[in-house]
């Protein structure tokens, strides 16, 4: 990660490093219970990585369910995958990959203290996230119209299905159950991502960040990379193979 190159200098709070009162021992962004800015930055980063480990395990259950049912019903999975819109999925993949680039650049520009550029890059990331959700909305809409719904709500309408695709077996509802669970849980993560991106955008505008303090941008970017990473696995598993 490029973020490791520039870590906050302990010297930033060093002038008052010996004191320990609230707001009296360093910059105003240094919380009362930390001794140095480096300690605060490292704690936040470690906490975020631990949280990301948690996220991976959270998705792992869905990936295992996918693996098990694909193994048991390979024909059903192949037939059902034909009903997913590869073009939309591919577009979304590109959109998310691009948004990962912009948020990584935002971290860089925050590190060098370029507030204006940071704001623009965060906004671009938010725009990409919204675009992803809009495309996802149209995909979901099409599935709803075609009756391609989870479990007992699975009632396909022939006129809405992809022409020339293999016939759908009776238990295809299980595939769409897994599809909606995986993309739905991922979509919730995108929504939360938009929330925290807006939060750092506001704070950036307010002038909270500087060369010395950009921790929130850094950890939100880490989270956003994970959201991207999960989709990079979802797209081929659900749409392509």
């Amino acid at each position: 990660m490029s973020t490791d190159v520039v870590t906050p200098e302990p010297a930033a709070g060093g002038a008052h490093g010996a004191g320990h009162g609230v707001g009296h021992h360093g910059p105003k962004w240094l919380a009362h219970h930390f001794e140095t800015p480096t300690q605060q930055f490292d704690a936040a980063k470690l906490g975020m990585w631990a949280f990301l480990a948690q996220e991976l395990l959270f998705f792992s259950g869905l990936f295992v369910a996918y693996g098990v049912y694909r193994n048991w019903y390979p024909e059903m999975f192949k037939a059902a995958a034909h009903q997913l819109n590869k073009e939309m999925g591919a577009t979304n993949t590109v959109v998310l990959l691009f948004s990962s680039l912009t948020i990584a650049l935002a971290v860089r520009s925050a590190q060098v203290g370029n507030r204006k550029l940071t704001g623009r890059l965060i906004l671009t990331t938010i725009a990409c996230a919204c675009m992803f959700l809009v495309i996802k909305f149209f995909e979901y809409k099409h599935k709803f119209e075609g009756g391609l719904l989870p479990g007992r709500f699975f009632h396909p309408h022939a006129e809405h299905l992809v022409h020339g695709a293999p016939a759908l077996p009776e238990n295809t509802g299980t595939f769409f159950g897994i599809y909606f669970m995986m993309t739905g849980v991922h979509g919730v993560h995108v929504l939360i991502g938009i929330g925290v991106l807006v939060w750092i955008w506001i704070r950036n505008n307010r002038g909270d960040f500087s060369k010395e303090y950009f921790t929130p941008v850094d950890i939100v970017a880490l989270y956003w990379h994970l959201v991207d990473l999960v989709w990079i696995y979802l797209f081929p598993l659900l749409y392509l193979i």
Binding site: G19, H20, V22, H33, D42, R152, G173, T174
Partner: protein, 579 residues
């Protein structure tokens, strides 16, 4: 050389002579606090209420089983009672009991820190827990669940309202409750990992961490890595019941055994979330009340991490009769035996610490010694169940019930109450009555063994768990077990009365009532808002009794049998006369 040298810094706005209990006033100052000690106290109250509730369910279950046929409730109510007992005890009490309640208060103090790494996340975890508990209470108001705490599919996932044949009870709110409370547990784990890594005081190296801290570190790793799997499992279960996904329901092409794999992938590691912090407390108690460094300090610390690792590899032993392949059962059986190694390392090191230690049998130590007895029985009977051929006979009998109660109650609850009595003076600044505390312990110890030793016999004779009714030959043993549960209940009531009385009329607690060398006893009881009057710098380990000064160890330690106490008093008097 003193353990605590000081840096010149002071907390400008915080008066170090005012305790955290009195630093600010009013209910809102508690509900919006970021102080880890206050959050811990609120957790402690919450889990104690949950423990009482779960205990009432347990007494009702035992009362129903007092005689054959109907005693006080019908079979359907009985199913709900034992399910609620399990759900409340596991998710509302035992998981958050030691880490989130006592760990929250003690961990930062033992690290010499002002707070946990993320105080706001800490408060959030409490509110997430309470939010989850609200779902649980909503479910109980709507009749509760009758699925057992394990929510096994397809009974839990097949909803009669949608043409299914499963449980008609309020399953979805209860699974959502466990789902939400899981996030509380994850947040605590994330917070503790960052805290232990980054918030240690100068001089507090990894080798100087207390064994309680090591156990919380191991526990946090499990909480972060296992709990999300339960979360997604319960979400899938909710959706299965709501939408009929067909993942767990065999009628729809799903696999109920997959649910068991998912569930135990969390819930077996969760057993170590429950027991490892209890072991941490016992390590503290044995060190303090033997007045020496624990033998095999590093071995005990690493065995906590060993349990955390092995905990992830043995979930299959819950499924020996559920239709796994023979090869899988053999591998899981072999891995299960490995768990005995880190557990044994701990037990032997504790016993070695006692050997030639200067033991004082004060009330917290009684709980630690009971832990040694009861956990050993619980652990060894676990090996019976890990053995394939024996498990086929004992699976789903009272033998299993007795086994995990010896681990969970004989282990964790003994550790919990040991820690509660040990740190009560630190938490509240009050001393309880030592004699009554011992009486309470005695009732619990006797009552527990009468209740559950009987159940080993019942189980090995073939009494299945969760049954409403039983054969005449089991009646006498069931009655003994039920009477035991009353003794157990009386014990807990005595403890409650004793602790409550100490709050009202208890003597003020000295700084170090037990003569311990650990860091939390170097600060006033109760501690000030930022934990220490002056920022600690460690120049010795927390068990280095030979390096601690007499003032550090014995200020306020008024055991008349202990010559040093008199010696210090004499020294003080001489110094006073000299000036």
């Amino acid at each position: 050389m003193a353990a605590i040298t000081t840096t010149p810094g002071h907390h400008d706005e915080v008066d170090p002579n005012v305790s955290y209990l009195k630093s600010t006033r009013g209910i809102m100052s508690w509900l919006t606090t970021l102080d880890h000690k206050r959050i811990g106290v609120m957790y402690l109250i919450s889990v104690s209420v949950a423990f009482a509730l779960g205990g009432v369910f347990a007494l009702l279950v035992r009362l129903e089983l007092f005689s054959r046929g109907r005693t006080i409730m019908d079979a359907d109510t009985y199913n709900r009672m034992f399910s609620l007992h399990g759900v409340v005890m596991v998710f509302l009490f035992i998981i958050p009991s030691i880490p989130a309640a006592m760990g929250n208060i003690i961990l930062p103090i033992q690290l010499g820190a002002k707070d946990v790494a993320f105080p706001r996340l800490n408060l959030l975890s409490l509110y997430v827990y309470i939010f989850g508990a609200c779902f649980g209470i909503y479910s109980m108001i709507n009749g509760g669940v009758d699925t057992g705490w394990t929510f096994y599919t397809p009974y839990s996932s097949s909803d009669p309202a949608h043409g299914g044949v499963g449980s008609p009870s309020a399953v979805i709110p209860m699974t959502l409750a466990a789902f939400i409370m899981g996030f509380s547990s994850i947040l605590t784990g994330v917070n503790f990992i960052a805290t232990i890594h980054k918030m240690r005081a100068p001089g507090l190296t990894w080798r100087r961490l207390t064994l309680f801290t090591w156990s919380l570190y191991a526990t946090s790793i499990i909480q972060v890595l296992a709990t999300p799997v339960l979360a997604i499992t319960l979400l899938l279960l909710t959706m299965e019941r709501f939408l009929g996904l067909g993942i767990f329901d065999p009628r729809l092409g799903g696999d109920p055994v997959l649910f068991q794999h998912f569930f135990w992938f969390y819930s077996h590691p969760a057993v170590y979330i429950m027991i490892v912090p209890g072991m941490g407390i016992v390590s503290e108690l044995i060190a303090t009340f033997s007045r020496r460094e624990p033998v095999g300090y590093m071995a005990i610390a690493m065995s906590s991490l060993g349990l955390a690792l092995l905990g992830f590899l043995v979930w299959g032993h819950h499924l020996f009769v559920a239709g796994m392949s023979e090869y899988a059962t053999m591998v899981f059986s072999a891995l299960t035996f490995l768990v005995a190694i880190p557990s044994g390392v701990k037990i032997f090191n504790w016993v070695a610490t006692l050997y030639k230690g200067s033991i004082s049998l004060q009330s917290p130590m009684l709980w630690a010694l009971s832990f040694l007895f009861l956990f050993t029985i619980g652990g060894l009977t676990g090996l019976f169940l890990g053995m394939l051929a024996v498990d086929v006979h004992l699976h789903d009998t009272y033998f299993v019930v007795a086994h995990f109660h010896y681990v969970m109650v004989g282990g964790t609850v003994m550790g919990f109450f040991g820690g509660l009595h040990y740190w009560w003076p630190k938490f509240t600044g009050k001393m309880y009555e030592e004699g009554l505390a011992k009486v309470g312990w005695f009732f619990v110890f006797i009552g527990f063994n009468v209740t559950f030793l009987t159940q080993f016999v019942l189980g090995s004779r073939g009494m299945p768990r969760r049954y409403y009714d039983y054969l005449p030959k089991f009646e006498q043993l069931h009655q003994i077990s039920t009477v035991g549960s009353w003794v157990l209940g009386v014990g807990f009531i005595i403890i409650l009365i004793n602790l409550a009385r100490s709050l009202i009329g208890g003597k003020p607690a000295p700084r170090n009532p037990w003569g311990s060398a650990a860091l939390e006893w170097m600060t006033p009881s109760p501690p000030p808002l930022y934990n220490f009057v002056k920022d600690p710098v460690l120049t010795r380990g927390q068990y280095d009794y030979q390096l601690a000064t007499d003032d550090e160890l014995y200020e306020g330690y008024d055991d008349p049998l202990f010559p040093n106490a008199k010696m210090i008093a004499a020294k003080r008097a001489a110094e006073g006369a000299g000036e």
